[in-house]
């Protein structure tokens, strides 16, 4: 089953064309790493799938439907920067998203409570539920946010830079967790990141964005001199060292993938 179908779509942000005429298809259950330099449109693409950024040309189908705000089949984990520094417990923070768009008092039904417990359980977050958010480490917050994204049992998970400001040990922990959840639920995952190497071995395919273009394929297909040279609009060299991949422009390290 196709999870995401993009057909000649262009995305414009503040008058600037971020992605131009891209076409791609992502199957259900795939783990896709979304990479590219800053400003390449990784977050914009996720926001377009969520219905937050209008499509200026072409067509996008998410789980067979055009993108629409509030699609319950999409789980979304925004960048943590916006997260409030609150003393509220992990449980309350996660639970605030449980049907959080409804009017009225934030009282949860028994079913919603079970859903929160289920999501916390999936990310091994039971012990985080009682602690204040402000006391949690970056990796622990990511687990809570992942639980929050899983509320309502989505079929597509959009994760925006979950590795940002995590040390390598916690980075691999987050990736392992996401992969385990993906397999357990059979859901599609789009995972944006700045660096490719932590994701090697976990992702099925890589979606590389750059200069308004997009390339989707296996790491071997996409992380090559011709493809990346087109995406960066400059000659790019790709070096493989001890199972890790480094992308360089001329003498300079264009985009460190260490």
């Amino acid at each position: 089953m196709t999870s995401i179908e993009i057909d000649g779509a262009s995305l414009t942000l503040g008058g600037r064309v971020v992605l131009r005429d891209i076409s791609l298809s992502i199957a259900g259950g795939e783990f896709i790493g979304v990479l590219g330099p800053n400003g390449a449109g990784k977050t914009t693409l996720l926001r377009a799938l969520l219905g937050l950024v209008p499509i200026s040309a072409g067509r996008i189908a998410v789980l067979g439907q055009p993108p629409a705000r509030g699609n319950p089949a999409i789980g979304y984990m925004p960048q943590t920067r916006a997260l409030a520094a609150t003393r509220l417990s992990g449980w309350d923070v996660v639970a605030s998203a449980a049907r959080g768009t409804r009017w009225g008092l934030p009282l949860l039904s028994a079913m919603a409570r079970r859903d929160v417990a289920w999501a916390l359980d999936l990310v091994d977050g039971k012990d985080l539920a009682t602690r204040p958010l402000i006391d949690l480490s970056g990796g622990e917050r990511q687990r809570l946010l992942l639980a929050q994204a899983l509320l309502g049992r989505p079929r597509l998970l959009l994760l925006d830079e979950p590795l940002i400001s995590l040390d390598p040990h916690h980075q691999s922990g987050v990736i392992t967790l996401v992969d385990r959840v993906r397999r357990a639920l059979g859901i599609t995952v789009l995972f944006t990141a700045h660096e490719l190497n932590p994701l090697l071995g976990a992702i099925d395919r890589v979606l590389y964005l750059g200069a308004g273009h997009a390339a989707l394929g296996t790491v071997a297909e996409v992380i090559t001199t011709p493809v990346l040279s087109r995406l960066y609009g400059a000659p790019i060299e790709v070096a493989h060292v001890n199972g890790r991949i480094f992308v360089m422009t001329g003498d300079h390290d264009a985009h460190r993938h260490a």
Binding site: Y76, Q79, A82, A84, R87, L88
Partner: protein, 261 residues
């Protein structure tokens, strides 16, 4: 002390205000918008003095201008860079204007003091009814938006993706804060709105990590501080607002000391 009507009125007024500010203040502190609450109180000062100048009831001017200010600050946006600067400018402009209104009406210096520092002992029955109405209105409003407001406060990006309008939440909430602030002013005055809106809520958030318990504790603390302040004022003959401010600040200090050890 309950032999006097004015003490009974004061107790009822303080009770209404404490419940409202305990609830509204909890979300104000949670959202980190205490400065906006403070600014709204000052804007209200201008509304009240302006109303006195044209011969209208000060409470009406207070409520109207404060709500307008709340909606205005809300429309400036939740993520606007330099929001504090905008609030600060509105605040000083409003206070300056309020001073000008006072200048034209020097005869009412005691009224100005009442506005700035509150005068809970002068609350009459009509004002009580007005306060009860305003209080119920702001509590009902908060009850309606509490769920999406909490979502938007804790996780704005996700809430937006799920269909909550961040801007609408901000405007509605600040309108509710404005109503609550206008009420608070009756008890502790423009300058000390923080004591009932922020003190109990901030203390509650230090002491419990649970939402429901936090709101309850915030209301309980506000009630206790407001009533205890009245009693202390009755027996010492010092201003009520001073006692409430002292209790509110003292409790917060105590709570932060016990938490950090």
């Amino acid at each position: 002390m309950f032999a006097y009507d004015f003490m009974i009125h004061a107790c009822i007024a303080a009770g209404i205000v404490a419940v409202v500010s305990g609830c509204v203040g909890y979300f104000l502190v949670l959202r980190g918008q205490t400065f906006a609450g403070h600014a709204l109180a000052h804007v209200g000062f201008t509304g009240a003095t302006g109303a006195v100048l044209i011969g209208a009831p000060p409470l009406a001017g207070l409520v109207l201008v404060t709500v307008a200010g709340g909606v205005g600050i809300g429309l400036l946006g939740d993520r606007l860079q330099g929001r504090d600067v905008a609030i600060g400018l509105v605040l000083s402009a409003a206070l300056g204007l309020g001073l000008l209104f006072l200048h034209f009406f020097t005869a009412y210096a005691s009224q100005a003091t009442a506005l700035l520092f509150g005068n809970v002992l002068a609350v009459d029955v009509d004002t009580l009814w007005a306060m009860l109405g305003l209080g119920l209105l702001s509590l009902a409003g908060l009850g309606i938006i509490a769920r999406p407001l909490l979502f938007a406060s804790l996780q704005p990006d996700l809430a937006e993706a799920k269909g909550v309008s961040i801007r609408l939440m901000s405007v509605l909430f600040l309108a509710i804060v404005a109503l609550a602030t206008a009420e608070c002013t009756q008890i502790v005055g423009v300058l000390l709105v923080f004591t009932l809106m922020v003190g109990p809520a901030a203390t509650a958030q230090r002491l419990t990590t649970r939402l429901g318990a936090g709101v309850l504790l915030s209301v309980t603390l506000a009630l206790a501080q407001a009533w205890l302040g009245l009693v202390l004022a009755y027996y010492t003959d010092w201003p009520t607002s001073f006692w409430i401010a002292a209790l509110s600040g003292g409790t917060y200090l105590l709570a932060s000391l016990t938490r950090s050890t």
